[in-house]
Amino acid sequence: MARTAIPFGPQHPVFPEPVHLKLELEDETVVGVTPVIGYMHRGIEKAAELKTFRQNVFLIERICGICSFMHSLAYCQGVEALTDVEAPPRARFLRVFWSELSRSHSHLLTLGLLADAMGFESLFMQCWRAREIVLDISEMTAGHRIIQSTCSVGGVRRDINSEMAKEVDARLRALQEMLDRSISPVFLHDYTINRRTEGKGIVPKEQAELLGAVGPTARGSGVTVDIRQTGYAAYSDLSIDPVVETAGDSYARTKVRVRELSRSVELVREVLAMMPAGEILVAVSNYPEGETVSRVEQPRGEEIMYLKGNSTNYLERVRVRTPTFANIPALLGMLPGCELADVPIITLSIDPCIGCTER
């Protein structure tokens, strides 16, 4: 049968970011896919060698504006390891606080976009309405809606007082209710969602492992990985059970996110309740020396950051492996065999973040 080549992107209504896939179709079925990326490449890894290790926090944070806090967290943890500093306990709890806040707004965002791609406008609006609650909390506690800029080498830069904590708790309860009442049930039981995602873009467990999938993409295929289990920041004091589904299709990945979302909101409240008193920032007096690998679990999966310092104000090498970067091979494994109309949904089901991927 004659093959048709269809360019998908870089400017495409479904994606806020430039993704470009060259699809090869036989009739309506995708038989080949070539990713063409680099449209957002800025060269942050290189630029990070040109700025001082303290300035880098702000640059690294802008690898991606959605999981911004977690990028800076991975970086700060790495630099702390290189400078022999340990963030004080309260700072570590606050880090979890903003991390989980980021995770919940990111998951709401993706779920909304997924609904939008299906044409499920009202669900999209609901998700984003709920997301505003999270953003308000972020603004209240960090001073900015999405780019918190609170992480710093040696701790965090802002504290939460008890009044604020109470307010946050109240709002989170409202969010929780919204999730339980409308959003989660729709995603988990709605016929439309089910039909558009079930059986679409399957990656079996072995393949997911081999292709190096991470985060919800891996967990949707039954791989039990969740870097929070390594206990960085304050996660060692919290109970983290990876949310795992086994079907490996878009539906499974969506379900993983929905369940993780609820868990994240719970975690934020738990953290607020458990927060120890004390310092939030310790001074860093020496320059980073040696090398380290720092890992965090982002909304999209595991981020690996390799840092090398040479006892100067500048780092010698900053290497960032973002989760979407690791999930692209898996995406390429999902697409062949699917229908053209499912391409946007399957692509969104790995929650691609091109800003991260291309840095």
Binding site: H41, E291, I304, Y306
Partner: protein, 592 residues
């Protein structure tokens, strides 16, 4: 870092396979630039998730190659591509097809993920631009225009020289067929491609490459116009022995005896003809050839007929043969050789081509005060180029449109030209409206001399025994320029009728290729390789968005200075003007 394993190149692949058997997951690959070598770090995650990572480290000397692990860990492909692009490590065998399943092609360039757009675009990414496609000589116009814009005229000249032996001449007289299709011509502001060529020639020098080893073959070229000179230039460089035989006392053909010196200074013409001589071609002037047999008998292996189109056409009017009725080419030729006739005060020029304009402007310079051109149609149909018409009018030539001569009468010393007014009718075979006389509108014009410039045709001696076609042109194979006789080729106006210098260059280049093949060569023009990058800096590329878009205006002599003699009218661009003009180019060759 904990769990580090250092491996050498030999241990590397087995170590990776070992990781696979342990079912470790590949995290990513980092690369460090250690000045004289690279270090690659493969981060692996053991099966049990919360365990610390294992790091496999390997050193790669710069310039060395390194095996890809994509056939073991397909997920490594992106990281390996990234490292290859950013660090310049040759990682071999990256299979993007994920074991033949997912991606279409191996090493597909699209999948070169995260590749920073190269700052220097390679030739492969260029596209034919309209200007370059329109150039008969096939000059790489966008490239040289760009080089001028980057203030690198010497490189620009080298680019021009790849396709053309005579940039000095063509930079002055070329009709520039490349400018009309320029994308900026829509706003009537095409890039001044010709002026830039002249700028490159005037302001730099070019080192000619020496001729190849002698081949022992001899070629005779009849006619020393641009066609003959071009062929000679390439043939001597290919190692053939070349003799140009020219009937007139000086070489150059129509460029010497047709195009007036105020457009093509004889100094430039001489320079470029001397170049051909220096390369080793012999030019015998005052040698009219009347038979090809004699040439073959004299030991020439091949002959190129490049005799041009010099025979003026007759108007077919009563009184045409009087000595005060001059033929344009004869007139220009005698002026060129400094033996111009006394025309008198009032001159009428009949015709509307470039030759007519040249005759009129030359007449002004030889003392005529009142020069009138008569043309059958209107300005829109005039074959002469618009800028030439403009120049003629500025210099004071009157042009009378829609007028056709009927009769020439001589009374005492005055010439009376009887003409009739015309009107435009239905289009004729050439697509232009056919002029029709308005009966009863006859009028008379008293002049001192008439110059007839209604076209020329080739004048090939009967003894050449070549097949000829319409208007006496020699019939050749469109590809090889071979005539009906073996070993005889033709190029230039003699095959096309009056055309242009650059057309003559084109056909001569084609003829050269087939002459070389005929003589047993490869038929490859001796074009030097150039090491010129297409895009030198980001800045040049950005600049095109930040400049105003006015075509340069060529500085010219004042009218008084022009009419005083045959000094060159156009003065040439200044460096500043040329660079600005070069920057104006949109570089259509670099667009998708």
């Amino acid at each position: 870092m904990e769990h580090e394993v250092f491996v050498t190149k030999d241990e590397f692949i087995p170590a990776i396979q070992g990781m696979l058997t342990e079912r470790a997951r590949l995290g990513t690959i980092s690369c460090l630039d250690l000045v004289d070598e690279f270090e690659l770090i493969y981060h692996f995650e053991p099966q049990e998730a919360p365990e610390p990572l294992t790091h496999l480290r390997a050193r790669v000397a710069k310039g060395d190659t390194w095996p890809s692990i994509t056939s073991i860990y397909p997920s490594a492909s992106l990281a390996e591509l990234e490292i290859r692009d950013h660090f310049d490590i040759e990682i071999t065998g990256i299979t993007l097809d994920f074991r033949g399943r997912f991606l279409r092609s191996k090493e597909s360039p699209e999948a070169a993920l995260l590749k920073p757009t190269p700052y220097e675009l390679t030739a492969a990414t260029r596209h034919p631009a309209r200007c370059g496609e329109a150039c008969p000589a096939g000059i790489d116009i966008p490239r040289y225009v760009r080089l001028i814009g980057e203030d690198r005229p010497a490189d620009a000249l080298a680019v021009i020289k790849q396709s053309l032996p005579f940039p000095g001449i063509l930079g002055r007289v070329c009709f520039a067929p490349c400018e009309a299709p320029c994308r900026q011509a829509k706003q009537e502001e095409p890039i001044a491609v010709r002026m830039l060529k002249r700028f490159a020639y005037d302001n730099t020098t070019y080192e000619e490459e020496v001729a190849a080893e002698p081949t022992g073959k001899r070629v005779a070229i009849i006619g020393s116009g641009p066609a003959g000179l071009t062929a000679a230039y390439y043939l001597v460089k290919m190692g053939h022995e070349v003799a140009i035989l020219e009937a007139l006392p000086e070489a150059g053909g129509m460029m010497r005896v047709g195009i007036p010196a105020y457009r093509l200074p004889r100094k430039v013409l001489d320079e470029e003809i001397d170049l051909v001589k220096q390369l080793g071609a012999k030019i015998q002037t005052s040698t009219e050839v009347s038979s090809l047999e004699t040439l073959f008998e004299n030991g020439y292996h091949a002959i190129l007929v490049a005799t041009g189109a010099h025979r003026g056409m007759k108007m077919g009017l009563e009184g045409e043969d009087h000595h005060r009725v001059l033929e344009c080419i004869d007139f220009l030729r005698s002026v060129s050789f400094g033996k111009g006739p006394q025309l008198g005060n009032r001159v009428a020029v009949i015709g509307g081509g470039n030759a007519a304009i040249d005759a009129a402007r030359t007449a002004l310079r030889t003392g005529a005060a009142d020069v009138t051109m008569l043309y059958r149609r209107t300005r829109a149909e005039m074959p002469a180029s618009a800028s030439e018409i403009e120049e003629a009018i500025t210099e004071g030539v009157n042009i009378d449109f829609l007028v056709a001569p009927r009769r020439i009468m001589i009374e005492n010393d005055t010439v009376i030209l009887e003409s009739v007014r015309m009107k435009l009718g239905a289009p004729d075979a050439s697509g232009r409206p056919r002029p029709e006389p308005i009966e009863g509108s006859e009028f008379q014009l008293e002049v001192d001399a008439i110059i007839a410039a209604i076209g020329q045709s080739p004048d090939v001696p009967q003894d050449f025994a070549l097949e000829t076609g319409s208007k006496n042109t020699v019939i050749v194979d469109a590809e090889t320029m071979a005539t009906s006789r073996e070993g005889v080729f033709a190029a230039g106006d003699v095959i096309t009728g009056p055309a242009s210098v650059v057309e003559a260059v084109r056909s001569a280049k084609q003829a050269t290729i087939s002459i070389d093949r005929y003589l047993g060569g490869e038929g490859v023009l001796p074009v030097p390789e150039l090491d010129i990058k297409d895009l030198t800096s980001r800045q040049t590329f950005i600049e095109r968005w930040a400049r105003d878009n006015q075509r340069v205006v060529m500085p010219t002599l004042t009218i008084d200075d022009r009419l005083r003699g045959f000094d060159e009218v156009e003065l040439g661009l200044t460096e500043e003007m040329a660079v600005a003009e070069g920057k104006r180019c949109w570089r259509c060759d670099l667009e998708e």
